[in-house]
């Protein structure tokens, strides 16, 4: 049996509030369409309450041995970079975005071998581009840089 902590109390509380919120959402649905979701939400609420009660009853006042975030700073940087990549890759093209993203990500979270990161990025991106575009015939977003340089859509 897992050891429970105050985190579990918070998590269970969030689940209880979430199931109530979704139940309110489901009230707007006609009864036939809502039957199954309501059944699931009712069970979710019931088990969340059990989880909450059990967490309150058994939660240890001591701090859990393992921290929730192993390194919150690096996690935030990684997340921001992933969101940034998802934002720009459909706009500027896969090749350009990825060639920049891989070394920037690696260096931002601590890699100091910049040349190796850039080279690995070039090799990986070229390989992925060859597999997807040349071998699998997938359509990727047009490369903005090529469009600017050549005046045609790549």
């Amino acid at each position: 049996m897992q050891k429970l902590s105050n985190r579990d109390v918070i998590c269970a509380g969030v689940l209880v509030v979430f199931s109530v919120a979704v139940w309110i959402q489901a009230l707007a649905l006609p009864s036939r369409a809502a039957m199954f979701p309501r059944l699931v939400i009712a069970l979710l609420f019931g088990f969340s309450v059990i989880y909450l009660a059990r967490s309150v009853w058994r939660a240890s006042p001591e701090r859990p041995a393992a921290p929730f975030f192993r390194n919150a700073g690096r996690l935030c940087v990684a997340l921001m970079l992933i969101v940034g990549y998802v934002l720009i890759f459909p706009r500027i093209g896969f090749f350009t975005a990825t060639v920049v993203f891989i070394p920037v990500f690696s260096i931002a979270i601590g890699l100091r071998r910049i040349v190796a990161a850039v080279l690995a990025s070039m090799v990986f991106t070229t390989g992925a581009w060859i597999v997807f575009v040349l071998l699998l015939g997938r359509r990727l977003p047009p490369e903005k840089i090529l469009t600017w340089v050549t005046g045609t859509v790549s």
Partner: protein
């Protein structure tokens, strides 16, 4: 069946299918060899990448990846005492001591042969057991299917992970995700929050990648392992070229393969359980049990044959009932769905060429391990371990985004994937098991549709769900599985009371 097998075998001879199996096996070995990357992450990334390929080519890649990664996990387990996958933990017990004795090459060869034998036996079990079982399930109606879905969900939720309540909550959240989108009976849109992209529901690929791949990437970023493994640590003895004595290993392979197949069929169990049980049985039945843990080749053979013979066998309930028994089977089921194949009894009736082709691919990719998992390949794959995880993490992100974006050209799905990734990260940190959630997403539609059809037939009479003896039997199994945690608690209380007195 013979005709179907023959026509599937002919289809598999096409160049693209052969390339897919070889490539899938190689990728699988590499993924298995990289500590931190597992079969589930590999499959989650592969599924969107395989979109647009013919189903047999895509399934060939998946079969290769599955079998290859099970063996690949043995490479770091033997060379570095680090299991590449959870299923390779038992391989470290005797594999690493063999490396310390300068017998790494022999250990790697034994692991390779054992994985191949286990995979082959498992694929034969799939071939022999799945078709008759699928014939039986043709007699099932909506109530039976509802209970089958419930049994699949409850067993995974209760038996995976250490906390049944968290498992059940995870499965319920999955069911809730499955109810997003248009209700097929009334045409009403549910929980779409005004987003047109959610009218057809949440794309299963988005959930798979988000929950299984992104949390691992975020953890890699947090750990920020700057260097890979040093070449000097990869001790593969140059002079160790003694051929492996196969005959003494045959009893171990036989026993472990049977254990692996039986464990594979059971819901909630996985390759790691099969490997541990096989290892324990090999040790128990050996004339010299004391030599286990000190570099006994039969220990490596038992663990590897055990974990690989779980592979295809775990797909028996997936292909016949449409109910995956573990996370890998759930991902393969997701892969089948992405390619328009509905697992269940109709799969063998309507797509026999593809399903028999897949079974043959599971066999062929096991045999491929003999050729691809040999010493030269192992030396090359061992070098993959040198790639620093900080470089691997953004490459995985790029592959995930590329694969997902080229399915629907939707940026919204990329953001949804990040959302599921964060959700998966939080749940992982809170020690919620993720496979029940995936199962909930996959089985939600099946459970709802069959429940509603059963109630429609019976004009709202809920007792109709328990009308047939089969329904009663499966419902009984659901209750039995739910009793497991209660019995565990009872045993714990008794133990605590005994210790207190």
């Amino acid at each position: 069946m013979i005709e179907d097998l023959l026509s599937a075998a002919v289809a598999l001879m096409a160049v693209e299918n052969v390339v897919a199996m070889v490539l899938g096996t190689l990728i699988g070995i590499v993924i298995g060899a990289l500590p931190g990357l597992t079969t589930t992450i590999g499959l989650a990334i592969l599924i969107p990448l395989s979109f647009g390929l013919s189903p047999l080519v895509a399934l060939g890649l998946m079969a290769g990846l599955y079998n290859g990664s099970m063996y690949g996990g043995a490479i770091p387990a033997i060379l570095l005492n680090i299991p590449g996958t959870p299923a390779a933990i038992a391989t470290t017990f005797d594999g690493y001591p063999m490396t310390q004795q300068g017998k790494a090459a022999t250990a790697l060869r034994i692991a390779c042969y054992s994985s191949a034998v286990g995979g082959l036996v498992s694929a034969f079990a799939l071939l022999l057991l799945a078709p008759p079982l699928s014939m039986v399930t043709l007699a099932f109606g909506p109530p039976e299917y509802f209970w089958i879905a419930a049994f699949g969900l409850v067993s995974i939720a209760v038996l995976i992970g250490g906390d049944p309540i968290k498992g059940i909550l995870s499965a319920l959240l999955g069911l809730l995700i499955a109810s997003v989108g248009m209700d097929t009976v009334t045409g009403r849109i549910r929980f779409s929050f005004g987003r047109l992209e959610l009218v057809d529901g949440v794309n299963i690929v988005v959930v798979l990648i988000g929950l299984f791949a992104l949390p691992r990437v975020l953890q890699m970023a947090e750990d920020a392992a700057m260097t890979g493994v040093r070449v000097a640590d990869l001790k593969i003895g140059r002079g160790d070229s003694t051929p492996v004595a196969v005959r003494p290993l045959i009893p171990t392979w036989t026993r472990s393969s049977i254990i692996g197949v039986l464990v594979g069929i059971l819901p909630g169990a996985g390759g790691n359980i099969a490997a541990f049980l096989s290892y324990n049985e090999a040790k128990r039945s050996d004339r010299d049990p004391e030599s286990f843990g000190r570099g006994n080749p039969r220990g490596v053979a038992a663990a590897e044959a055990g974990n690989s013979s779980d592979n295809a066998a775990s797909l028996i309930p997936t292909l016949t009932l449409g109910v995956p028994g573990n996370a890998i089977a759930a991902l393969i089921m997701g892969g089948l769905l992405v390619h328009g194949l509905q697992p269940g009894p109709s799969l063998f009736r309507d797509n026999s060429d593809i399903v028999y082709g897949f079974v043959l691919q599971m066999m062929i990719t096991s045999v491929l391990l003999f050729a691809l998992g040999g010493m030269i390949a192992t030396r090359i794959f061992a070098q993959v371990l040198r790639v620093p995880q900080v470089m691997l993490a953004p490459m995985i992100v790029a592959l995930m985004c590329l694969g997902l974006f080229t399915v629907n050209n939707s940026q919204f799905e990329l953001f949804l994937m990040i959302g599921f990734g964060l959700f998966g990260y939080v749940l992982t940190q809170m020690q919620f098991p993720l496979p029940p959630m995936i199962l909930g997403v996959i089985l939600g539609g099946m459970a709802e549709q069959n429940l509603r059809t059963a109630l429609l037939i019976s004009r709202g009479d809920w007792w109709h769900l328990l009308a047939s003896p089969i329904s009663k039997g499966i419902a009984g199994l659901v209750v039995l599985v739910l009793l497991v945690p209660l019995l565990r608690m009872l045993r714990q209380w008794r133990a605590t009371a005994r210790d207190g007195t």
